[in-house]
C-alpha cells in the first residue's frame, strides 16, 4: 500500500514533467515566428523575440519580470496596479506604465493599439476577449492561465521564455521549481496514507467555496476532501459545498485563503474557529485552522513553491521541522525575482508573519 502510494506520487510528478516537455516540443519554430497553442486551443503565431509585450494577465506579467524582460512591458492591467502587492516590489518601474484593462472585464483596444505591442497575453477566462483583440488590432493574443496546475504553470514559463527569446532563463526557473517540488514530494510520498491529513480549503472569500483540486495540498502530503467533485465555475476549479458536507468530511485541517491584506479578508481563521456550526469538526476542535496563500487571481511560481513547503510543515511537522520557512522563502523568491529578503517583505505587507511564525 505504502509502496504503491509512493510509486503513484512519483508517477504523477513524472507525468507533469513529461506533459510539460511534450508541450515544449510541440511548438514549431521557424526563424522569426513561433506557432503556439494556447489554453483556449487557439494556434497563435507569435514573434520569437518580442520587443514590446503587453500582458493583461497578472500571472504572466510577473513571469515576464522573473525572466528579466520587465523593461519590455508596455502596459498594465488594473489588477496589477491596484491589488498586486508583490508586483510593486519586484518591479517598481510599473508606475510608469499605463493601465489599459481590467482583467476579464473591460479592455481598451484603442489604448492597446496606441502602445503597439508585438504580442499580447490575456486570460482565457473571458473566452471571446483574446480573439476580439486579435481581430481588431492584428496583434497576436495568447490566452494562458495555470488554473492551479503545476504543469500549466511551468508551461507558461516556458512559453514566455520562447516569446521573449529568454529560453535559457526560463529553463533555469522551470528546473529550479521542479527540483524544489521533487524534494518535497520525495518526503511526502513516503508518508503512509493513514497519516495524510484530510484537508478542507475555504477559498474565494467564502467558507463554503472550495477548489476541487489544489496540487500543493497533494504535493505536501495531504488529501483535499473536495477532490473529485465537479467544478461549478467555468475557468476555475472552484465549487460550492454545504456546511453539512464539511461536517460530514470532518477534515483534520482547514485552510483559509490568506493571500490578501488582512482588512480585505472575508473569512478569517478566527471566524472559522469561533463558528459554532463547525465546533464538532476535528480541525476546529484541535485548532488546526490556518491561512494559506492559495491561488487568488493568479498563481505565482515562487509563492507556490513556498506554499508547498509551508503546507508540508503543517501537515507533517515532524518530517519538515528542519526547514526555516522564511529563509527558504527568501531563497526561492530571490531565485525568481532577484531580490534578497523579498519573501520577508511580502510577509510584512500582507501580514503573513502572524501565521507563518506561529508554525515555525
Amino acid at each position: 500500500m505504502k509502496a504503491r502510494k509512493k510509486v503513484l506520487k512519483l508517477m504523477v510528478m513524472a507525468a507533469v514533467v513529461a506533459c510539460f516537455l511534450a508541450i515544449r516540443a510541440a511548438g514549431s519554430s521557424s526563424a522569426q515566428k513561433l506557432t503556439l497553442r494556447d489554453n483556449l486551443g487557439r494556434a497563435v503565431e507569435v514573434p520569437s523575440r518580442a520587443g514590446r509585450i503587453l500582458s493583461l494577465q497578472p500571472e504572466i506579467t510577473r513571469i515576464i519580470v522573473a525572466l528579466g524582460a520587465g523593461d519590455r512591458l508596455v502596459g498594465l492591467d488594473y489588477f496589477l496596479r491596484r491589488d498586486d502587492h508583490l508586483f510593486k516590489i519586484i518591479y517598481p518601474e510599473q508606475a510608469r506604465l499605463p493601465v489599459v484593462s481590467k482583467p476579464d472585464d473591460s479592455v481598451n483596444k484603442e489604448a492597446i493599439a496606441a502602445l503597439s505591442p508585438d504580442v499580447i497575453f490575456a486570460s482565457p477566462s473571458e473566452l471571446l476577449v483574446p480573439d476580439s483583440i486579435q481581430r481588431a488590432l492584428s496583434i497576436p493574443v495568447v490566452a494562458l492561465s495555470s488554473q492551479g496546475s503545476f504543469g500549466r504553470l511551468l508551461e507558461e514559463i516556458d512559453f514566455v521564455g520562447r516569446v521573449t527569446g529568454l529560453e535559457a532563463r526560463a529553463k533555469e526557473l522551470v528546473d529550479y521549481f521542479l527540483e524544489n517540488m521533487t524534494a518535497v514530494v520525495r518526503t511526502t510520498s513516503s508518508v503512509p496514507s493513514k497519516e495524510r491529513p484530510k484537508v478542507y480549503l475555504a477559498f474565494w472569500s467564502s467558507l463554503v467555496r472550495t477548489p476541487v483540486s489544489y496540487e500543493p495540498v497533494n504535493a505536501a502530503g495531504g488529501d483535499n476532501v473536495a477532490a473529485g467533485l465537479l467544478p461549478s465555475f467555468t475557468g476555475s476549479p472552484g465549487t460550492v459545498v454545504t456546511i453539512e458536507q464539511i461536517l460530514k468530511w470532518d477534515p483534520d485541517i482547514i485552510l483559509v485563503h490568506g493571500n490578501f491584506l488582512p482588512r480585505e479578508r472575508q473569512v478569517t481563521v478566527q471566524q472559522v474557529l469561533a463558528d459554532k456550526r463547525l465546533s464538532s469538526v476535528k480541525a476546529v476542535r484541535k485548532g488546526q485552522v490556518f491561512y494559506t496563500f492559495g491561488y487568488w487571481y493568479w498563481w505565482d511560481p515562487a509563492q507556490v513553491a513556498v506554499e508547498t513547503l509551508y503546507l508540508a510543515k503543517i501537515f507533517h511537522p515532524e518530517r519538515f521541522n528542519a526547514i526555516d520557512l522564511e529563509a527558504a522563502g527568501n531563497i526561492i523568491f530571490e531565485k525568481f525575482y532577484g531580490q534578497a529578503g523579498l519573501f520577508s517583505k511580502l510577509c510584512e505587507v500582507l501580514a503573513f508573519h502572524d501565521w507563518i511564525k506561529k508554525k515555525q
Binding site: 489588477f79 491596484r82 491589488d83 481590467k102 472585464d105 474565494w204 472569500s205 467564502s206 467558507l207 463554503v208 467555496r209 467533485l229 465537479l230 461549478s232 465549487t239 460550492v240 459545498v241 454545504t242 456546511i243 453539512e244 458536507q245 461536517l247 460530514k248 470532518d250 485563503h257 490578501f260 482588512r263 480585505e264 479578508r265 472575508q266 463558528d275 459554532k276 456550526r277 463547525l278 465546533s279 464538532s280 487568488w296 487571481y297
Partner: protein, 341 residues
C-alpha cells in the same frame, strides 16, 4: 350543493396549505449531506433537554440539527414568506397581478445597497439597513418617474422599473469595478442568492424585521382588497389611500430588503406564489396574504430541499427558484381560463 362541495374543497386546501410548511419543515430537518437517521434526530432533539439520558448522541448531531439545519430552514421559510407576501401585497396595491419586487426596482435597489455596504463599509454596518434604504429609493424613483395616481399604466410601470433597475445595476457594476477582487468574490457569491451560509447571526437581524413587516401586512390584508380597487373607489369607500400605499410599500420593501440582504436575490417567488394561491383560493386577500406566506415558505423549503438532496454541492437557490418558477408560471398562464384571476 355544488357550492358547498366547492367550499369543502376550499376549506381542505386552506388547511392543507397552512399545514404544509410545518410538514415540509419537519421533513427537511431530516434531509442533508450529513446522514442522521430520523430516530437519531428525534433523540438528538430530546438530548438537548436532558443530555445525560442520551450519552450516545455525538455532539456533531446537535450541530447539524440546531446550528446548520434549523437556522437554514427558518431562513428559507422567512424569506419565502416575505417575498411571497410582499409580492401579493404589491400586486394588490398596484392593482396588477404582474407586479413584483423586480419590476419595482426593490431587488436591484437592495442588491446595490447591500453590495455597497459589503464593499465599502465592511461588516460594521448591517447590510439590511443599506439594502432597505436603497430599495426604498428605487421604489420612490419608479413611482416618481412612472407618475402616481390613476394614470399609471402597467406599461409605464414596467418600463420605469426596467430603467430604474438598469440604473441600480449600473451602480452595482460600478461597485464591483472598484471592489478588490477578494471582496468581489464574496459579492458575486452573495448576489447569486444562496441560503448556504445561514447561521443564527444572520437570522438575528433579519428575522425580527421580516416578522414585523409580515405581521403588519397580514393584519392589513383585508384592506388590500379595497386598495386593489381604483384609487377613487378606495377613497370613496373610506380608505386613506395615501397612507395605505405608504404603509404597504414600506412594509413590502422592508421584508424584501431584509431577505435580500442575507440571501441575495431569489427571484420569481413573489410572482409565482401569490398566483398559485389565487388560482386555488380566489382573489380575496384575506386568504391570499396568509396563504401566500405559508405557500412561499413551503416553496423555498422544497426548492432548498431539492438542492440539498441533489448533490453535496450548493446550487444557488435563486437559480433554482427561477428554473422551477418560470415553467410553472407558463403552465399556470396557459391553464387559467381567465388570465389574471
Amino acid at each position: 350543493m355544488t357550492g358547498s362541495r366547492r367550499n369543502n374543497k376550499k376549506r381542505f386546501l386552506h388547511v392543507f396549505l397552512l399545514v404544509l410548511p410545518l410538514l415540509l419543515f419537519v421533513i427537511s430537518l431530516g434531509i442533508g449531506s450529513y446522514q442522521v437517521s430520523p430516530r437519531d434526530l428525534v433523540r438528538t432533539f430530546f438530548s438537548t433537554i436532558s443530555p445525560s439520558s442520551y450519552p450516545d448522541i455525538p455532539p456533531v448531531y446537535r450541530d447539524v440539527l440546531f446550528r446548520i439545519r434549523l437556522p437554514r430552514l427558518l431562513l428559507a421559510m422567512a424569506v419565502g414568506a416575505a417575498l411571497s407576501v410582499a409580492g401579493a401585497s404589491l400586486q394588490a396595491l398596484f392593482k396588477n397581478p404582474l407586479v413584483n419586487e423586480y419590476i419595482l426596482g426593490i431587488s436591484s435597489g437592495s442588491a446595490f445597497g447591500a453590495a455597497l455596504s459589503l464593499v465599502f463599509l465592511g461588516r460594521s454596518f448591517p447590510p439590511q439597513a443599506a439594502a432597505f434604504l436603497f430599495a426604498i429609493l428605487a421604489v420612490l424613483a419608479v413611482l416618481l418617474v412612472a407618475g402616481r395616481g390613476e394614470s399609471t399604466s402597467l406599461i409605464s410601470l414596467l418600463l420605469t422599473g426596467v430603467i430604474v433597475s438598469a440604473f441600480f445595476s449600473a451602480l452595482l457594476s460600478l461597485v464591483e469595478f472598484f471592489a478588490s477582487p477578494y471582496v468581489l468574490q464574496a459579492l458575486f457569491f452573495w448576489l447569486m442568492g444562496s441560503l448556504s451560509l445561514a447561521g443564527w447571526k444572520d437570522l438575528a437581524i433579519s428575522l425580527p424585521l421580516v416578522g414585523v413587516g409580515l405581521a403588519i401586512l397580514l393584519l392589513y390584508r383585508w384592506r388590500m382588497n379595497v386598495l386593489s380597487m381604483s384609487d377613487e373607489e378606495a377613497k370613496a369607500l373610506g380608505v386613506n389611500v395615501r397612507r395605505g400605499k405608504i404603509l404597504v410599500i414600506f412594509m413590502a420593501t422592508l421584508v424584501t430588503a431584509s431577505s435580500t440582504a442575507v440571501v441575495g436575490i431569489i427571484g420569481w417567488v413573489g410572482l409565482i406564489v401569490p398566483h398559485l394561491v389565487r388560482l386555488m383560493m380566489g382573489a380575496d386577500n384575506r386568504l391570499v396574504i396568509p396563504l401566500s406566506a405559508a405557500t412561499g415558505a413551503s416553496f423555498l423549503l422544497v426548492a432548498d430541499g431539492i438542492t440539498r438532496v441533489v448533490s453535496p454541492l450548493e446550487i444557488p437557490i435563486g437559480i433554482f427558484t427561477s428554473i422551477i418558477g418560470i415553467p410553472l408560471f407558463i403552465v399556470l398562464l396557459k391553464k387559467a381560463k381567465r388570465v389574471w384571476l
